[in-house]
């Protein structure tokens, strides 16, 4: 079936926040958001990642690209999976890696984010991988780091998680090929999801056929259509003719803050079960940025089933993060 989705126009801001990602020569210096990258840079990152995937299959899984460089994982919010894949990516590029978990450290003692940054910068870091619970934190850090330092956003508040969106695009491209004929549905808590926002920008840049978001009104933010999505509140119509289903993690605090009544009701309406999966195309793939809540947003049989590509996403994440690190660091070297 042909896709005939009309993409709305994203309103422009007076100051576009993504310009800071590029150095004076137009090279990618930081990766803070997918916005402003455009299809050329996204495709370049995905192509570079393709090259790095072969490194994973070698006996010695290392290339000397970042030898002598120091990558600091600055995590103001706990995350095992994302931090580990960034760490592995940096190590496979032969960088020295420092993991700093700040959620229970300096900032809780009253130190400002900028002071923390300055102190770690004094340790001669070349790249910061930043996760923070406030939107815009990675931008803020990128504005204040020394000129030679690159910043990668590993998730900031509700704003962006660009490498997750890139690895999802990479996974889809490997399985489905061209994006233009695809219908993609993102299901669950769109409102609080940095992953969803980055995916929306990435898939629209790659000119995906149609992009849908599915969820109750409490979890779909106002005015999301201008970002280039169609909104559905029921799974049956939302999943119809869909090629890719991306399930998002649901946090228990959403119940406590009155956005949802119970996990059970959410699962009944929006949890991806084998039965609901049949509403999509027969060859639809199922994705999840992890960690998945089985029995809340996804049924175990679907998460582990033949249409699930969740573990491939994890493997691909290392290659994509290696690609981003290599490209950003080459800009630093050039400048």
């Amino acid at each position: 079936m042909a896709v005939n989705f009309v993409r709305p126009i994203i309103p422009k801001l007076a100051k576009d926040p993504w310009a800071i990602q590029f150095d004076s020569q137009g090279h990618l210096k930081h990766l803070l958001t997918i916005e402003g990258l455009g299809p050329t840079w996204i495709t370049r990152i995905l192509d570079t990642a393709e090259g790095f995937m072969s490194v994973t299959d070698r006996e010695i899984k290392k290339v000397p690209l970042l030898r002598g460089r120091t990558v600091v994982n600055l995590f103001f919010e706990s995350s095992t999976r994302t931090r580990t894949t960034f760490e592995l990516a940096a190590k496979r590029l032969s960088a020295d890696v420092l993991n700093i978990n700040l959620s229970t450290s300096a900032t809780t003692k009253g130190e400002s984010l900028l002071d923390t940054l300055r102190n770690i910068e004094a340790m001669q870091a070349d790249m910061f991988v930043v996760r923070h619970d406030q939107s815009g934190a990675a931008h803020f850090i990128a504005r204040h780091v020394a000129p030679h330092v690159s910043v990668l956003n590993a998730g900031d508040g509700w704003h962006a998680h660009p490498t997750q969106a890139l690895l999802d695009a990479f996974t889809i491209r490997r399985i489905k090929g061209d994006f233009a004929p695809l219908r993609i549905a993102i299901v669950g808590d769109i409102k609080h999801s940095r992953v969803a926002r980055s995916q929306i920008h990435a898939f629209n840049s790659l000119n995906v056929g149609e992009l849908r978001v599915i969820g109750p009104r409490t979890l779909i933010p106002n005015d999301i259509e201008p970002l280039g999505v169609r909104v559905f509140h029921d799974m049956k119509s939302g999943l119809k003719d869909v090629d890719v289903i991306i399930m998002l993690r649901l946090q228990r605090e959403r119940m406590e803050s009155g956005l949802l009544p119970t996990e059970q009701e959410f699962y009944r309406l929006y949890g991806l079960t084998e039965e609901k999966l049949r509403w999509a195309k027969p060859d639809a793939i199922v994705m999840h940025p992890g960690p998945a809540n089985r029995g809340v947003e996804i049924e175990s049989r679907v998460a582990d089933g033949p249409q699930s590509v969740i573990l491939e996403q994890v493997s691909n994440g290392i290659g994509v993060r290696m690609a981003v690190m290599a490209l950003c660091m080459s800009a630093s070297t050039d400048s």
Binding site: P11, A14, L114, F140, A160, R194, N222, D223
Partner: protein
Amino acid sequence: MIQNPPNLGIDLDPVRHPEGCRPGFDCDTWLIRGARVLDPASGQDQVADVYLANGKIVGIGAKPEHFPAQDVRTISADGQWLIPGVIDGWARLREPGLEHKATIATETLAAVSGGITTLCMPPDTDPVLDTIAVARFIKRRAQLAGRARVVAIGAMTQGLKGELLAEMAELTEGGCVGITNAHYPVKDLRLLRRALEYAATFDIQVIVQPLDPSLGKRGCAHEGVIATRLGLPGIPVSAETAPLAQMLAVLPETGARIHVNNISSRAALRLVEQAKADGLPITASVSAHQLWLSEMDTDALCGSTHVLPPLRSLRDRDALREGLAAGIIDCVISDHQPHESDGKLAPFPETEPGISGLDTLLPLMLKLADDGVITLDRALDALTRRPADLFGLHDSGRIEIGARADLALVDPDSFWTLDDTTMRSAGRDTPFFGWDFRHEVQSTWVNGKKVFWRGSTPDAP
């Protein structure tokens, strides 16, 4: 010989303060010659000489009979505009309690350099302005600073906690021009109703800042397309309209008059318009930055556009402009909230809300008139006569014989840019950095005393 400081033209002599002028002794005698006198209160727009003595305007046009022949300081003001000193209805000067951000001395300097001669200060200080002692402290500090007049707005509830009524009558007797709970919620509607009733007993002006804390919880930007895109927690328009609607529901039962401060949305404007049409005693104000900026100006990189209420949609901004032109909105305020540099050095949601607005209040309004959005008369009216009437400052905000000599001389063809060198507030945070303006304040008088002039040349007596 009159001593003049070499740089900013600020008289540092604490004895010669505007509030403490003794008739015929401390204040100067001035002849402002040949300025275009603009005064919405009296409808004046004429080139005339203006005579000041004993802190008052004593003559316009013809020389008054008893005006002294000697020791008159004369200023030639050809081609310049003489306007009533601006009355800013809502400016936080940070003292007492937050002197690391700004002080009454620093901010009154910024005020007079921007043509503002009276500042109304809300009670969210530390300690809260809920006793006459704090009101007196603020007045004394302003006197010592010797620049603009600072009038206090007292707390509606003790400690602004929204639980027990403050001593409103005493606060008013102590010089407070109104009472408010700022943006702090009152515990319940019954208490709010009683606060309005109690205020009405003494005919105290009540200033309300409608913002529901639960609807706007954790929010930092207008709930709309930009907040959605940037992943910023939103503050819906209903956070403003819901408490306003509640307030309007109880208002007719209380006998109080309320001033809705700093409205930000089209929907709130409609509520005010309807209430006015229904004959309720209600007035409204908007901040100058809300008339120029919208959510599209939200800068996710830094907090210079993080304000409360948030910058709303373009549609809201345009409605506010129309509401001002039509007179539904009575006054324009600076909503001045200076911060130390650290206050804004954080990711957008973690920055402290508020910007420094004193330097740009009058320039933004004159720019609005230049652009034909409102008339010059309406622009000045919203900054002078209306706030004067609202806060009971009946001898201010006008150029009339017998009125306080609070005046500003503006050069309409002096172009300037807001930057680090021209900004005077201790808080340096404003989204208008780099903006070009046409009108520049050249001199400001408060109570007949010249408290600011540009350049270093003193005006000879």
